[in-house]
Symmetry: D2
Subunit: 334 residues, 4 copies
């Protein structure tokens, strides 16, 4: 029997995070970072960037501890939702159908799964439209995030992540590899950018960060300056800097619950059919920071747990490569 075909994934669409204090989270994500509040009630906040024409790219819901509730990918057609269901059922993964109205506000008929890496992932097609803000410069403030760009996931088994996402039809733009081509990290895409999802070696499943794109680099300096002005510089974890991988400029912030967000700009087009993977050696000190700066420890070590379909934290497995890779240093596998 042949495996059922993969759903046609369009792009990474939104992350739903559990936060412990919604007002505090609203301050950070809406007031300071500048995401637009598309919907809110006592327990939920739906947020989107300046260029997003769908209902949200980030959902914050209240809960007892910081966690990833689920990631979501948009698929091309309604029947791709069915295809996603079959795809994960055939792999024996937990699957739950979520009719429109039962799940996340604004999202149509969906399916949620726990994928082979242990992450809670939703696939949906329908989503409410939102008013066009693309040219509402009068509303822009903070980091002026344009759109969700990617998810970054901690997983102890990067090759397994690579295989799973390849089976879902993702291309691979870049990797970090050892001298024997052992895989330390991978950046994978459906839309025509460097990634929709990336994997950082480490204990997992955990969410490392969500990445939002801005149009230009001055926004990265600006939001760092604003946090300094507010004497909230403790929310700045790393950067601004230039990545080796992806060539994008980055700034990593931590929200009041410790969720990490990357403000990200200026990667490159990957839409050609024969786009080749670019491979970084793990000993090239420019791979994580093109300017050669050391990556601070918290960036490698800290990440948030993920929930299963019933909202229970998934068990975390340590990274298997940890010991043998001691000399590697900055990539967190040493």
């Amino acid at each position: 029997m042949t495996a059922p075909p993969a759903p046609d994934v369009v792009r990474s669409a939104y992350a739903q995070l559990v936060v412990t204090d919604l007002a505090r989270a609203r301050w950070f994500w809406a007031d300071v970072l500048g995401l637009h509040v598309q919907y809110e009630d006592a327990h939920v906040l739906c947020l989107r960037g300046t260029d997003e024409l769908t209902h949200h790219s980030l959902v914050l819901r209240t809960g007892d501890r910081a966690a990833l509730d689920h990631l979501a990918y948009r698929v091309r057609t309604p029947s791709d939702v069915d295809r996603a269901e079959e795809f994960f059922r055939a792999r024996g993964r937990p699957v739950r159908r979520v009719p429109a109205g039962d799940g996340t506000h604004g999202v149509g008929d969906a399916v949620r799964v726990v994928d082979p890496l242990g992450f809670p992932v939703e696939f949906f097609h329908g989503i409410a439209r939102a008013e066009r803000h693309i040219q509402r410069y009068d509303l822009r403030h903070g980091a002026e995030m344009a759109r969700l760009d990617h998810f970054n996931l901690c997983t102890p088994d990067i090759p397994a992540a690579y295989v799973h996402y390849t089976s879902l039809g993702f291309g691979c733009s870049e990797t970090i590899e050892g001298d024997e081509h052992e895989l330390y990290a991978a950046w994978m895409y459906r839309k025509q950018t460097v990634h929709d999802v990336a994997f950082t070696g480490g204990a997992g499943p955990r969410l490392h960060h969500v990445g939002f794109a801005t149009h230009e680099s001055p926004q990265l300096l600006r939001i760092a300056d604003i946090l300094g002005s507010l004497h909230k510089e403790g929310h700045i974890e790393r950067g601004p800097g230039r990545h080796g991988v992806s060539n994008a400029c980055y700034l990593y912030l931590r929200d009041p619950d410790g969720h990490r967000v990357e403000i990200y700009t200026s990667d490159y087009y990957t839409g050609d059919p024969d786009h080749e993977t670019y491979r970084w050696n793990v000993h090239d000190d420019r791979r994580r920071d093109f300017w050669g700066h050391a990556v601070i420890d918290s960036w490698y070590k800290e990440a948030v747990p993920v929930l299963d379909l019933d909202g229970v934290p998934q068990p975390i497995t340590e990274a298997v490569l940890d010991e043998s890779a001691a000399r590697v240093g900055a990539d967190g596998l040493g």
Copy 2:
């Protein structure tokens, strides 16, 4: 009998222009604007941007007068080249197969057609790879153009252009329309940006401009400054400015033969399956310049002729809407 299916077009890939003095053209496009010379001989120059991984996105060849030799789209597979041939043969258009080695340097098996709008267009799949310059900041200079973004074509019949490109599977991101929704201009895409091709109403077929993307807006100011320094400010035709349509920043330059190039940055993602067309009213003075500046006359009136498959200039038809649209003003139809 059903019409043959359209080829799967990936993106606008390159323009081949006729220039009258290759050394002078090289000065403008390579020395000043900063495109990388991938190949050159006495009659031809193949150029590409910093992020392009294929052989060229602009070809300049010598000839008696400035003209568009042909536009080229990359298609997804080798059999899409065949599909393109069948598609245009079924429409009774001039078609010529160009085997690898007989056509443009670096390009594989291709088909060239004169499309229903009268433009010479090539479809190809195979193209030579080029060394990765994405992170060669040491080589960047001039406008630091990252990649070809789009073609802009003058045609007297915008609705016909819209219909033809729709039949080729292009989506429509934005339009300029009259009060009765008569179509004045349209921006159409295959890759996930605002456009691969746009149509400006006017006598045609003529090439209005080729558009190259940069990463950020400072590059637009920089290349204008460099031209001022060289006392070559006459090459600056319009801008820098912000478009209403596309929301991109723009700068229009004219090369020594009068070919127009747009340096373009910061449009938006259009890859979602239900991406809606955004419609500008022709009376909104922000449509062409979001800051409300008048468009200078030469921008509306001047464009270069296009050649047929034998290198003979195509006859030019005046725009049919000219008279009735006298009140429209800036969009060149008045």
Copy 3:
């Protein structure tokens, strides 16, 4: 008898403008442009930029028609106020002493004069301090104007303006000159920038514009984008562009009463004792716009009247060079 010595002028300090609708002016200058409201009552608004440590650099007061109430220069010591009084009395100009509390809010003991060019000018030393906003990025918005940079004055007799300001100890950084070195425009400074005051040939005395400095050029694009978003692009008169003279980037806006403001950035240091005047020929089309763009007519023709010490509009004299300079074109003297 020797002429009394000139006061030691530190810098251009503030302009007091008459506006016809204070609420509308507040919307433009504070809400949109982002100047900080340091003081306001029913008739007066005192505004300052992000880097200014003194009470205001712009005062708006209500009145029947748009006009310049007065310009103000800060002098080095309290006795320089006396020196200013003597300097202008000796020249037979109208002079009025304004004790602290009787004049503009926040300003100490001052003297007001009508200078030989017909402009109402105040000299003061003492001014109230203001809270430091230099690092309040959280408060920045709009054009993020850092500080008043200069005044630009329309006067029919540029050589007379040059002589007068030279007698006040100003240096001359740049000029526009005819083929016989006849003076068309001059930029003069006390602080170590290109100018505190400049003269544009034309009917006068009239105020051409006040110039505010921003730190970087993205702010110029940003405020233009915001005005476009608000569909208030009619307030954008000219630019963004690069000046030939001063090498600064510029954007000219008009307030609801027609007062012109320049957003200005990145000129150069002029503080060396032997700093030489840089002379532009009036036929160099880069002098007003380094990118060679034509200056629009309103920029040359329109300016606001100035008041005398009793609030009566000063009579306006046409420019004497008008006729003979017809061929000059863009510099408004043709």
Copy 4:
């Protein structure tokens, strides 16, 4: 007997550094950073920035080991050179008159002293003019440094440095102070910027860095990117970042001999007569980096020795506050 008056210092003018390999230094400062080579011979290189109208702001001469040969300040008049001589003779410091032609290429009559802090300092008035490059955007490359901005000196006794430079007529824009207002660092100016010279506590006399101003922040990211491209990221020591003190954006690089250069942009005007000192508490983690990032150890510990008037390295005294300030941490006094 009254002390002789201080010379009227205009600004920090140039630094003369000893480098061990002139070709390697030329690669770094001219080819990569983009300073213009105004003069060179087998032993000396005179360099200047894009906006500098005098002969040089950096002189590199060959020698056995990296050192500061001397700092130089420009004074207002020729007689201020005499005044400088008398000023330091009266203080019993080593003084040597250097007639034009005997000293540094392009510099007129000068006096060199070893100041009370142990630094070799030159005062001069006359200096050769240089061709205006302010608008030669075609020549700009690398970091596009506009002009020398300041010197930063390591000295064990900050209060003594403050007193000495105050006696020379310098103002103090900012300080870092302990809870009892003990002085940890000071920024002092003559020109109307935050500083011409600053003092960093530590063993001294040593040269911490020379600072060059650029017009905007993108240049800081650009030069870091170029160094990454060349796989010379080891020359990047710290930043880009935003200072708390001065509010400027910074990037610290090390040249092939270990000389440190700061690329610096966007501080603020300090020219008003009553400009107040802004005081940072040493425990505010934003003082050195407004984004709260830790300062790397080498930045605090490493600096280059200085020579006396005979070219002999000056003895170095350890900082006296070291032990007691152990808890202070990042400011190098702990």
